[in-house]
Subunit: 383 residues, 2 copies
């Protein structure tokens, strides 16, 4: 097979520490399966690069990264030093910009964030309510609230007005909703293969093996809410085997807590998806285990980007105590994605997932060093 090439961007804070474990696991898998896989480490985007160059990454960063089949990112963001008035200086919008630039530049229009409570993961909900969480939140990743249009009129003046425009296209809405239905169908297929089933009811009382729930705030944000609703209805006709559901974003937050098991695939806008995925992550074990995949499923020339949902956690950076579990689940997802072209990579991804899950089941909740967790997982891979 042709060599698959990965750009590794450790980033800031705990990023380099957890990425180091991911790279070691990749080494182990490469040796074991003679994978046609190589990777290159980049010192950017990062806060350190910003300090040296006044920008987070070189001008041709996107062109360089585009040469790779995937990007494996640690974490971005560093609040910078505290000033005399005890306030943090560096704005998040500076240090995190490359994340949004990559999503936009490579048209990674799907952000996939699975939330499944695995054995050993931390539970925050009472009565084992979280036990059956098994949802896939699909976030529209290319437009909506994140288009960055708007501005500040008369900044700092008493009559200042700040605006932010939300822009939604039917084309992007159709592709994300159709993607959601396809995933629902595929998940149902996988469940049947594994001998698990779930059942969701349609409005007219039929029972389906899968469901797509679309999120809007159409009672207040009418324009795109109505468009989402219409597109959802249209596309659902192509998938009579998938039950449909709608929730307002505020009610969805509530129901994620009250009845998380009732969700299968959830499709949400960029901002609402951002909010719901953080909530889904914490309910299914916390940031320590949540992967995030920024995918371009349509253009093979554009690399997809894989990052844990967690941030750079500057408060614990450099101490060797960050949990690499989310990073390693993310790496497994990346291998699975790359396996679409080279099936042995998918196999390696499955192995990595199983090893991380087994480690979590055996030791979840124990205080262990970053390196120690990575080591334990590598031992499982070699066994």
């Amino acid at each position: 097979a042709q060599t698959t090439r990965i750009a590794v961007t450790p980033g800031d804070g705990i990023g380099p520490e957890v990425v180091a474990e991911a790279v070691r696991c990749l080494e182990t898998l490469r040796t074991k399966h003679e994978l046609a896989l190589e990777w290159t480490r980049f010192p950017w985007p990062s806060h350190a690069w910003h300090e040296d160059h006044g920008v987070s990454w070189p001008e041709d960063a996107l062109e360089q990264l585009q040469q790779y089949d995937a990007i494996l990112l640690g974490a971005l963001g560093d609040p910078g030093p505290i000033d005399d008035n005890s306030r943090y200086l560096l704005s998040d919008s500076v240090s995190l910009a490359p994340l949004l630039d990559m999503r936009k530049g490579f048209d990674q229009w799907v952000c996939e964030r699975p939330a499944r409570l695995l054995p050993g993961a931390r539970q925050y909900l009472k009565d084992d309510r979280a036990k059956d969480i098994d949802m896939l939140v699909i976030r529209e990743n290319s437009e909506g609230e994140y288009v960055g249009q708007g501005g500040r009129l008369r900044p700092g003046k008493p009559d200042e007005v700040a605006t932010q425009m939300e822009v939604f296209t039917r084309r992007a809405t159709e592709r994300i909703i159709r993607y959601g239905f396809e995933q629902a169908r595929q998940r149902a297929g996988e469940r049947i293969q594994e001998g698990r089933t779930r059942s969701f009811r349609t409005l007219d009382g039929r029972s389906c093996e899968s469901q797509v729930c679309v999120i809007t705030k159409r009672n207040a944000l009418r324009y795109w809410g109505d468009m989402y609703t219409e597109v959802f209805e249209e596309i659902s006709q192509e998938f009579p085997d998938v039950a449909t559901h709608h929730e307002l974003v505020d009610a969805a937050c509530m129901k994620f807590v009250q009845s998380p098991w009732a969700f299968d695939v959830v499709v949400a806008s960029n901002l609402q998806g951002d909010i719901l995925t953080d909530l889904a992550a914490v309910l299914s074990g916390g940031m320590g285990v949540a992967p995030s995949c920024n995918l371009n499923p349509t253009n093979p020339d554009m690399p997809s980007m894989f990052e844990p949902t967690h941030g750079s956690a500057p408060d614990i950076a450099g101490q060797g105590i960050a949990d690499p579990t989310a990073m390693l689940f993310t790496t497994a997802r990346m291998l699975d994605w790359l396996g679409r072209k080279d099936p042995v990579l998918a196999k390696a991804g499955k192995e990595l997932f199983d090893a991380v899950a087994a480690d979590l089941a055996a030791n979840g909740g124990e205080q262990r060093a970053t390196r120690q967790i990575g080591e334990a997982i590598r031992e499982r891979l070699q066994a």
Copy 2:
């Protein structure tokens, strides 16, 4: 004292059922304390009025309501009948519009939603994590994401574009943030009186008895995020006794689950406040207990509006099983608010709050009819 007049608008679904209990409690309190209080019931806004008149309320509805000192609202919204394709017909944006029209028309620029886990209330979080929840979420209620500006270009066509504009003014930002700080100070005073204390740390390590946490998504929605941050910093200078904190809305959702006790006063934009208040409500006992106050603290000619956070729950409407607890807490809050002019009303409000809380502590979690709960609370009021 001058008579205080309340407009009672039961609305749709379970609204009339829970409002009936509120009115009975008001009767009891009026008799007991000879309150100078009267109320008028309105058949609108409602779905029924919409069916008869093609609109949710009369043209001069706001003028009529403006004659009152407060509005006590049950719940709005009815999905309407199901069509042949088993899809609901009436759009939420039609049936709920009066809610937003009142907030706007009477410039109810504060939406106050306290979240405190009272004894007897349902806990969803493990390890008594919710036990010490005692926060006040203050939602900006007059602008932001809810200005209703935007539209659909080429509706239904493949190249459709839907836009929604977010508009934030410095003036509204200043008033809501200052209101937040004032509430924080007042809450600290009340806690000291009651012999309870809490302690929050500032960035430079000092300890304060209260805190304001401002919410933004400034790493993605930069323009108003930056303005919010600046205004927050400026106004915080006037309140050196109040610790300051900032969270991104996604992280805030996570932390509401992980460490809800760490929040005191939370100030958020219209949409982000909408989302966070639903989450805070469910974490502190659920929709069954959560009040919501839409206040105009600056213009005494404009009535404030009081509604439970829950919706009209059409699925259980008409069965007499809706829990009136949230409605009664809301009514207590209304009396407290009206007590600013007539202190005996505040006293009645406190009595109602205590009676509802005592009932919750004694019977929370039991299946009881709407009427039965109201009756039990009225007995306590009369005792």
